[in-house]
């Protein structure tokens, strides 16, 4: 797949140096490790409700974050990775999963509703496709206030068949809004494979019908994601209108913690694990940038300690105060 003619051939991002790539690797590893611990906590009933893991897709969120500093982000319910890539501290996210007062949403949100206004992370939404129209409102505000940024909106392949998503695409192009819509195509909407969801399995083609510039690529390599999202963001930020990106990826786990993912054909997961984003980046760091085993081991230790510290923080944090049950139903009066 070549870059569509509308998008720039190169992004305005500087080339990535070994240090920069090492940092992205570290971020991906922290997401992976934090979620591994979340899975463990779930089996111990420290995390309750629904818990959808992002394991296998980390390169998408981390690459996109590297491409869009200062942007607004909106994601769906598999958003642990997006939240962390955008800058939500692991401990605040873990505390939210544990339902604690110190969580990013003070224990009112849970796994599917991570929010952090300080890093422009706007959720965390649980109705498939329902969050996509919000991105246009953020784009509208960016445009009216002449901010030099974009809104990045993530959705899964399952969101592509919802009316709200289609309406959002129509309005975004009509009003030429600075929004980058990212479809993370992991080939399964819960247990329904892509070819059983849609007659059109190259989802970026949905852009053509509404006049939206669209691009499709594999997203296992974090550098590729960074560069290709960077091109889209450049295009949208310059006032050309929105871009639809279909980033092909794969989730290693089931839809949620209760799903053993038995619907996958035999051998598929093993084959996809060969392009695990962490493996690919580690290999490049070692083979092309000469990263030493010691340096990588150092990173692993740092990350594992941070993830464990997040667990400890969550575990030790107080529950929300029941007296505050009604505290956030309505925003206070006054302007």
């Amino acid at each position: 797949m070549t870059v569509p003619p509308d998008l720039p051939e190169r992004s305005s991002l500087p080339d990535i140096d070994p240090e920069g790539l090492l940092k992205l690797y570290q971020e991906m590893l922290l997401i992976r490790r934090t979620e591994e611990l979340a899975a463990k906590a779930y089996t111990m009933r420290k995390i309750l409700g629904f818990c959808h893991l992002y394991i296998g897709q980390e390169s998408v969120a981390v690459g996109a974050a590297a491409a869009t500093p200062g942007s607004y982000w909106i994601a769906a319910y598999r958003e642990h990775g997006h939240a962390m890539a955008k800058g939500v501290p692991a401990k605040e996210m873990m505390a939210e999963l544990f339902g604690k007062q110190t969580g990013s949403s003070k224990g009112y949100g849970g796994s599917m509703h991570i929010f952090d206004k300080s890093v422009k992370f706007m959720g965390g939404w649980g109705i498939v496709g329902g969050h996509v129209p919000l991105a246009n409102g953020v784009g509208w505000a960016i445009k009216q206030r002449k901010e030099d940024t974009v809104c990045v909106c993530f959705m899964g392949d399952g969101a592509m068949h919802q009316g709200a998503t289609f309406e959002a695409f129509c309005l975004a192009t009509l009003y030429k809004l600075p929004v980058v819509f990212i479809i993370e195509n992991n080939f399964y909407a819960m247990g329904t494979s892509l070819d059983r969801q849609s007659a059109v399995t190259e989802l970026y083609k949905r852009g053509a019908g509404v006049g939206m510039v669209a691009d499709r690529f594999e997203g296992f390599d974090v550098e590729v994601v960074r560069e290709r999202v960077g091109r889209a963001a450049d295009y949208a930020r310059a006032g050309n209108g929105p871009v639809l990106l279909e980033i092909v990826t794969y989730r290693h786990r089931g839809h949620s913690m209760s799903d053993p993912a038995k619907y996958r054909p035999e051998g598929e997961l093993e084959e996809k694990k060969l392009s695990d984003p962490l493996l690919l980046t580690k290999k490049r760091l070692q083979e092309e940038f000469g990263a030493s085993d010691e340096a990588l081991e150092q990173i692993r230790e740092t990350v594992y300690a941070e993830a464990q510290a997040a667990w400890d923080f969550a575990e030790e944090s107080p529950d929300p105060d029941v007296n505050d049950l009604y505290a956030h139903v309505y925003a206070p009066d006054g302007e």
Binding site: Y72, I74, G103, S104, S105, K106, G107, Y108, G109, H113, F115, D116, K117, M122, G123, G124, W125, G126, I127, G130, H131, V132, P133, L134, A135, N136, G137, V138, G139, W140, A141, Q144, C151, G163, A164, E167, A168, C170, L171, L174, A327, H328, V329, Y330, A331, P332, D333, G334, E335
Partner: protein, 325 residues
């Protein structure tokens, strides 16, 4: 004191607020070049331009969601639906996003947005263009539900709704846009959550809101002639409910009739009756009665529709029943 049509009072409220605050914009179907399906926004495009008075395609979920996203980052959108009937295709945006974003984010994000549209039956519009959404939206904590009967309240309550930091469901009426009423020339607001006692009396409380205020007014005049004095409470806000005003009135009269549009089953009248028996049980001399639409989807034919809607005679009959006459 100017005599303003309700549509003019609503327009004056929006125009004043938009002059005062650049973050406010009006968006909806036909609001700009067409000057509004009911001419509420007439002339506003000319003053504010097409980036603040914005036409949309027929895409309620899309533009309701756009408004919500903009509100989350500090704008104050006014989203107009052509009627509340059409808001149902944006129901997910209003219920799952608008009502919940503040609490789901632990209070980080606020959504200062006003959704406004005509509500309830007009005439001969059939089943899909005649619903009342009062109880649908009042059901959900996180939303405020505001309505009005007269020009002064239309003006003052819309201004308060636009200034409120929460999502407000603002219920208008196709049938009353042309009604004239006095509005003070000086800029002012009317507070959300405060009922208005339209007449004081001692024999019976009649509670209503929206355009049924006019039916209750007619019924009250006839009842007065029969020597029955009515405490006539116009709620104006359904959520938050002005419980104090309600209980004070019923504690005084001991009898209550609730008049509203929409279906009787699980309607707002049921909520009011339930609260009255919980709080005012010792004061009640008779069961609380409700006068509402008959429990059928709206029929088209004039005689059928008339049979469905509340009217002064049905209100008088209900009052006579609670008085044991």
């Amino acid at each position: 004191m100017a005599q303003l049509q309700i549509r003019e009072a609503l327009r004056r409220a929006m125009v004043e607020e938009m002059r005062r605050d650049e973050s406010i914009f009006l968006m909806g179907e036909e609001v700009a070049y067409y000057n509004g399906a009911y001419k509420v926004s007439q002339g506003m495009l000319e003053e504010f331009g097409d980036q603040r008075v914005v036409d949309t395609p027929i895409s309620e979920a899309g533009f309701a969601g756009l408004g919500l996203g903009a509100a989350m980052v500090g704008m104050r959108p006014i989203i107009e639906f052509m009627t509340w009937n059409f808001s149902l295709v944006a129901f997910d945006q209003i219920i799952n996003t608008a009502a919940k974003a503040h609490i789901m984010s632990g209070g980080q994000y606020t959504l200062p947005i006003t959704f406004r549209a005509p509500n309830g039956a007009a005439e001969n519009l059939g089943a899909q263009h005649s619903i009342s959404v009062d109880s649908l939206y009042a059901h959900f904590p996180g939303l405020k539900v505001v309505t009005f009967a007269t020009s002064d309240d239309a003006y003052g309550l819309l201004k308060s709704s636009i200034r409120d930091n929460n999502p407000v469901i603002f219920l208008e009426s196709e049938m009353t846009y042309g009604l004239k009423g006095e509005v003070a020339d000086e800029e002012h607001t009317v507070p959300i959550g405060k009922a208005r006692l339209r007449a004081e009396g001692t024999d019976v409380t009649i509670v209503t809101w929206g355009k049924q205020v006019f039916n209750v007014e007619m019924a009250t005049k006839k009842l007065n002639k029969q020597g029955i004095s009515v405490d006539f409470l116009d709620l104006r806000t359904l959520r938050p409910l002005d419980e104090d005003a309600l209980y004070r009135s019923v504690a005084k009269t001991g009898r209550c009739v609730v008049v509203h549009e929409g279906h009787i089953f699980a309607g707002v009248g049921a909520e009011i009756a339930a609260r009255l028996q919980e709080v005012c049980f010792d004061y009640l001399e008779a069961p609380v009665l409700r006068v509402t639409n008959r429990d059928v989807p709206q029929p088209y034919a004039t005689n059928l529709e008339k049979a469905v809607m509340p009217n002064p005679q049905r209100i008088i009959d209900a009052v006579n029943r609670v008085l044991g006459r």
